[in-house]
């Protein structure tokens, strides 16, 4: 019933029949309402969308200094400033950041320093990144228009008279959001926004923000920055600050982004999203102490903030305060977060807090709640750790094997399995596992170091040296690696 009415109104609009009575406004209203509903179906807050492709990363004309000063760039996370944890304590992601307590779009993206590195980065099923962001996810999101209507898209953009609609302030915003979010046609959206902002005599901050969003999607960050700045001059809005900070983060200017957030906090004191933004930047810059401070501020504003609780919890866990971490995770559990990851973390915390009775049952629940093979692999990997901890090496061996059965790219599991194989005296197997681990995850130092030790023991000094050098690249401060390198150099010098 409603379908046929809307269909009629669409025809009315496309034919642009000017009828003298009030039928046109009513059909316009229905059309506008349907547009809004369709947009809402696929709406994602643009602040949270972050998808950086290789081409965007490497061909951005905006990066100024290739070698930035420490603490001013997101690309070179300083390892020591602000007392960041060492990879010996807290595992690192591919980009050399400590892993975070909360998965966000940006935490998954490593930023390789050079094109060569970007191409050479090993691609497992999970780390593969699209070559450009204009393909991939956005296009897939854009196909929503095909699915909803069997007769083709609701609005035929190519036949739309953009100029006409840009002059109708009561419809244009809805239409823009439809083009941007539902159709994902950024170029048309940009044209439309440009017309509309012109019609609004460049006084409507909202249109400027939309222009900025379009420019950002198109990778024109400087233009986006200009629009967002101009919008802020008209009207201070939390969203505009978030968008602008996102541009600065993409431009690799974390300090500017931080200043901007603080400026935003002057206008909107205690705004949780701004505080979270600051905390995230600190975390990405490897400044965990400050990040935790800001996450605590977030909790003062909103004590149900899951991200803040999870990040503080994981930070406590990696600073050997698993009892405190346990309290944070338990809080999440009480709040109704009920998933595999949480139980996994609870299990680990219990284990390190020596509450062995809870450990296995937590992992049991985690296993019952897994939603993907990768999660299952991680749980088994952690169980393997627990088994190593209680000395049950057979169980550990089987756990690591299970982890690999579920996720064949689990480098850490390969590494640990190699160590267990070595204990059994099976050198060839151990070596093969270590090499696999090293090729799957060159950013973790353990396989390199283990390989170096192993190769040194069996007298293959050349490979030992090569592996030790890789370990040093991954973790320069590792003392044992230094020692191996030193003794090897000495040995080579004697020859």
């Amino acid at each position: 019933m409603s379908q046929s009415v809307l269909k009629l109104s669409q025809n009315d609009l496309s034919r642009e029949r000017k009828e003298s009575d009030s039928a046109l406004p009513i059909s316009e209203a229905a059309w506008s309402l349907k547009t809004r509903a369709l947009t809402e179906m696929v709406y994602i807050d643009e602040v949270d969308v972050d998808h950086e492709g290789i081409a965007e990363m490497m061909l951005d004309e905006s990066s100024i200094a290739q070698v930035a000063r420490p603490g001013t760039s997101l690309r070179l996370p300083g390892t020591s400033q602000g007392g960041g944890p060492s990879p010996a304590v807290r595992p690192m992601t591919q980009s050399g950041r400590p892993i975070t307590g909360f998965v966000r779009p940006s935490t998954q993206s490593g930023r390789p320093g050079t094109m060569e590195q970007a191409i050479k980065t090993p691609r497992t099923a999970h780390t593969a990144r699209p070559v450009t962001s204009s393909s991939g996810r956005f296009v897939r999101l854009g196909t929503a228009s095909m699915l909803t209507n069997l007769d083709g898209p609701f609005i035929n953009l190519s036949r739309l008279n953009l100029t006409k609609y840009a002059q109708k302030p009561n419809m244009s915003k809805t239409l823009f959001e439809y083009i941007f979010h539902h159709e994902n046609d950024v170029k048309n959206a940009l044209d439309f926004a440009a017309l509309a902002t012109e019609h609004a005599q460049f006084k409507d901050w909202w249109w400027k923000v939309q222009l900025g969003k379009c420019y950002y999607r198109l990778g024109l960050h400087r233009e986006a920055e200009k629009q967002f700045r101009s919008a802020l001059n008209h009207q201070e809005m939390v969203d505009t600050y978030l968008y602008l900070a996102k541009v600065y983060q993409r431009l690799d200017q974390p300090i500017t982004a931080l200043n901007l957030f603080k400026q935003g906090l002057d206008h909107f004191p205690g705004e949780a999203t701004l505080l979270t933004g600051i905390a995230r930047i600190h975390e990405e810059m490897n400044n965990i102490t400050s990040a935790t401070e800001y996450y605590k501020d977030v909790l003062k504003q909103d004590n149900t903030h899951v991200e803040a609780i999870a990040c503080i919890g994981s930070n406590h866990f990696y600073t050997d305060q698993s009892e405190i971490a346990l309290r944070f995770y338990r809080r999440l559990l009480q709040m109704g977060v009920y998933n595999c990851q949480l139980y996994n973390n609870l299990g680990l915390c219990c284990f390190y807090a020596q509450q062995y009775d809870m450990t296995l049952s937590s992992f049991e629940r985690a296993l019952a709640l897994v939603s993907s093979d990768e999660e299952q692999a991680d749980v088994w990997y952690n169980l393997g750790h627990v088994a190593v901890g209680i000395g049950d090496l057979t169980l550990a061996y089987q756990c690591f094997k299970l982890a690999l059965a579920f996720n064949n790219d689990h480098a850490e599991a390969y590494n640990n399995l190699a160590v267990l194989e070595l204990r059994k005296g099976r050198i060839e197997q151990s070596k093969a596992f270590l090499q696999t681990a090293a090729s799957l995850a060159p950013h973790i130092y353990e396989p390199h170091y283990n390989l170096a030790t192993l190769a040194e023991k069996i007298g293959d000094l050349q490979s030992s040296y090569a592996a030790a050098q890789k370990a040093e690249d991954a973790f320069p401060e590792h003392v044992d690696t230094q020692q191996i390198l030193k003794s090897l150099r000495q040995h080579f010098a004697e020859l």
């Binding site: 316009e28 506008s32 004309e61 949780a272 504003q301 899951v306 093969a432």
Partner: protein, 736 residues
């Protein structure tokens, strides 16, 4: 996500299959009892009007029926209910009920019953207005500053504000730029009407302006006049929100200060009178309804907010003070005072769950479901564990992540090299240094023992040797099937190879019971190519730069017998001397001593001797083995020619260093090239075209540099494998 749930004080479910929305809930002293306690009025889209006076049910009393004061079916859907002083000459509160085409004002009165059933309540219609246009929502207040009375303003679906001064219709005005109706609210302090229009902005209209604007009924004629008369309706102020709004409330702190609260779809705004933002909060969930109320503290306001995640949140300004779980998603929320308890939260869901609740520390609804617990019978578990362990142990023995060498391969490959050179050469280079390049056919037989899937064969020979086809994709073979592939091997470079052997590897998958897709397996075999592929006989040289002498413990043999294919038809019947001329140019001579048991290999090129020496030793072994001599030995007596060897190693090292250098230079230039590209891109993207400042020349130059470097690097690499090969043989020969 909350720790606690809202504690139910009183709850009921209204009707069955009825629908409720934002305007359907209203609290107040509807029957003017004067006690100051609130009753709850609920209307539904099905036309049911209900009034409740909730109280805590004492045990043994019928609860619900007792709390419900009134239930009337009004036939038309109820969009909104409001309590106000709607009747002239009466200070009492009356109930205004908005239907789509009608607004009715009722008086509710209670009479003390004289039997034990309790009080009796009645609904009496005072007056009603039929509406010309379909109504959307309404607001009320003392418009224009009248005292003691409330007027009603109804917004129609097509954007007309209709004003009713109690029993009389005053006037109607069309809102400018209207498309879809938004929430409407009257602010008594400034005497303005606030709404959020389809242009996504808060608009404020003064009552005076509305009153003096052109009449809506004469709009069509009025449009022409409006320009001259200046009576066109204009908003007092507007504020662009950029999102649709769900609701608007005015909250007064005192007689002088008040705030406008707007609940957007994604944010909460608090505005001043003048339309500036006092504060805002970005919401990370989808709100469903809200209700601001004055806080205890000075100058702060509290907001009750409900969202679609079944949460009830209490904010003090923007700080979250409390979060409680609700049983359903409310569409309307109010605060009410009842006889026993003050400040209860009244929520109404779209399905008709009416709840009066308060904040408490009851843990939230969520409890982790129990993991399936089973009675542990330790003996059984032990037995199961043992059997599982046994299976695991057995499987580990047979299959593992790393495959174990199978005793018998499912696929057997054998390679045979034909004894004759091809009649028509398959070589890619027709001739090298004026010599035709021969080729030889290699036949690979593939025999399967069991069924195998998609076998692939890869053939690999030492460069610069090459084969006509190095990869074969075969069809899956059944058990006992056999296929043959043939290929030709030939020299494809300007230097001799280090080795004449080739490798054949077959990759296939053999299906097992557990894994029908097949377990990947590899089998391989070797073949060796004839020396004829590389060299032809020539006249032996008497002297040469490099010489190697091989001692044996047997009398010398006729070299023509050992190398029958190289036997030159000459007068040297004893076979004391033989010479090999490589296609690549150099030649090697083998001389057999007539008296002693020695052979001399000599050549102008140190590294070329290796192939001949190796072939010679191999053929001697074969020759003597055929004769049944077992204790044949050969040895090298003289000093190892280390000087020559090191020379080659040095040369090789130099080439490698060069290659690396070019690689570095190349990547440096590539970076430079990309940097220039990037700059150019920026230039071209600029709206105002800037001069290129010779960037194009720079780019062109860098491009040429890159190409030149790549060329040079390739040239360095080309001799490198040749040189690599030339290191290899002497290394081997010195070991042997």
């Amino acid at each position: 996500m909350s720790l606690f749930k809202a504690r139910d004080w009183w709850a009921t479910v209204l009707g069955e299959g009825e629908e409720f929305d934002q305007g359907c809930l209203c609290v107040g002293d509807v029957d003017n009892s004067g006690t100051g306690f609130d009753k709850v009025v609920v209307g539904s889209y099905m036309g049911m009007l209900r009034i409740f006076s909730p109280h805590l049910s004492k045990p043994g009393e019928p609860s619900e029926a007792d709390a419900q004061l009134l239930e009337v079916h009004l036939r038309d859907p109820i969009i909104q209910v409001e309590l106000g002083k709607f009747v002239s000459c009466s200070e009492l509160l009356h109930l205004a009920v908005l239907h789509p085409r009608k607004v009715s004002v009722y008086a509710v009165s209670g009479m003390a019953g004289n039997v034990e059933h309790g009080d009796q309540y009645q609904l009496r219609l005072v007056y009603e207005h039929n509406l010309q246009r379909t109504a959307c929502n309404m607001t009320y207040g003392s418009f224009g500053g009248v005292t003691g009375h409330h007027f009603i303003c109804i917004q129609s679906m097509d954007g007309m504000l209709m004003f009713f001064e109690q029993e009389t219709y005053a006037f109607g005005r069309f809102l400018p730029g209207f498309l879809l109706p938004g929430p409407l609210c009257y602010c008594a302090h400034t005497d303005t009407f606030l709404t959020v229009s389809s242009a996504r902005q808060v608009e404020s209209y003064r009552y005076e302006t509305l009153a003096v604007a052109t009449d809506a009924d004469t709009r069509h004629e009025g449009e022409q006049q409006s320009k001259s008369s200046g009576k066109r309706l204009q908003a007092d102020w507007t504020l662009i929100l950029g999102e649709g709004a769900l609701d608007i409330y005015i909250l007064s702190f005192s007689s002088s200060s008040h705030s406008i609260f707007v609940l957007g779809e994604r944010s909460l705004y608090c505005l001043k009178d003048s339309g500036q933002i006092r504060f805002m909060k970005k919401l990370e969930y989808n709100p469903s309804c809200f209700f601001p109320y004055a806080a205890v503290g000075e100058g702060t306001s509290n907001v009750l907010m409900a969202n679609h995640n079944n949460m009830l949140l209490v904010y003090e300004d923007i700080t979250l003070k409390w979060a409680a779980q609700l049983a359903c998603v409310p569409v309307a929320v109010r605060v009410a005072n009842f006889q026993e308890l003050k400040g209860l939260v009244v929520t109404l869901s779209s399905e008709g769950h009416l709840q009066c609740s308060y904040m408490g520390t009851d843990p939230s609804f969520f409890t982790a479901p129990k993991v399936e617990a089973r009675e542990v019978n330790y003996e059984e578990v032990d037995a199961e564990m043992r059997s599982l362990q046994k299976i695991i142990r057995e499987t580990t023995r047979t299959q593992d992540i790393l495959p174990r060498a199978d005793i018998e391969d499912d696929l057997i490959i054998t390679a045979s090299v034909s004894t004759d050179l091809d009649a028509v050469s398959q070589a890619l280079l027709p001739e090298i240094n004026g010599t035709a390049v021969p080729s030889v056919t290699v036949q690979i037989k593939v025999k399967s023992r069991n069924a195998v899937q998609s076998p692939k064969i890869t053939v690999c020979v030492q460069p610069p040797l090459a084969v006509s086809q190095d990869q074969f994709v075969l069809d899956s073979l059944g058990a006992g099937a056999q296929t043959v592939v043939t290929l030709s091997a030939f020299l494809d470079g300007l230097y001799p190879p280090a080795d004449l052997t080739g490798d054949v590897a077959a990759y296939y998958s053999s299906p097992t019971e557990l894994n029908p897709a097949g377990v990947p397996r590899v089998t391989q075999c070797k073949f060796s190519l004839p020396l004829r592929l590389l060299c032809s006989p020539t006249a032996p040289l008497k002297s040469a730069k490099y010489k190697i002498t091989v001692d044996t413990n047997k009398p010398p043999v006729n070299l023509n017998q050992v190398f029958p294919e190289f036997a030159v038809k000459s007068d040297d019947k004893e076979g004391g001397a033989l010479a090999f001329r490589f296609i690549t140019g150099s030649s090697v001579s083998v001389l057999a001593s007539k008296s002693s048991q020695r052979y001399r290999i000599q050549s102008e090129n140190f590294e070329d001797m290796w192939l001949i020496a190796k072939e010679l030793v191999q053929r001697f072994d074969g020759h003597f083995a055929k004769q049944g001599v077992n204790d044949f030995r050969n040895s090298f007596a003289g000093p190892i020619p280390l000087a020559e060897y090191f020379e080659i190693v040095d040369h090789h090292f130099e080439l490698r260093v060069n290659a690396e250098k070019y690689q570095d230079l190349l990547s440096e230039r590539a970076v430079q090239f990309r940097a220039i590209q990037r700059r150019l891109l920026t230039r071209f993207k600029d709206k105002t075209p800037a001069p290129l400042q010779n960037l194009d020349t720079l780019m062109e130059g860098t491009y040429r540099q890159v190409i030149a470097l790549a060329d040079r690097g390739r040239r360095t690499l080309q001799p490198a494998p040749g040189c690599c090969l030339s290191v290899q043989p002497p290394t081997w020969s010195s070991c042997w």
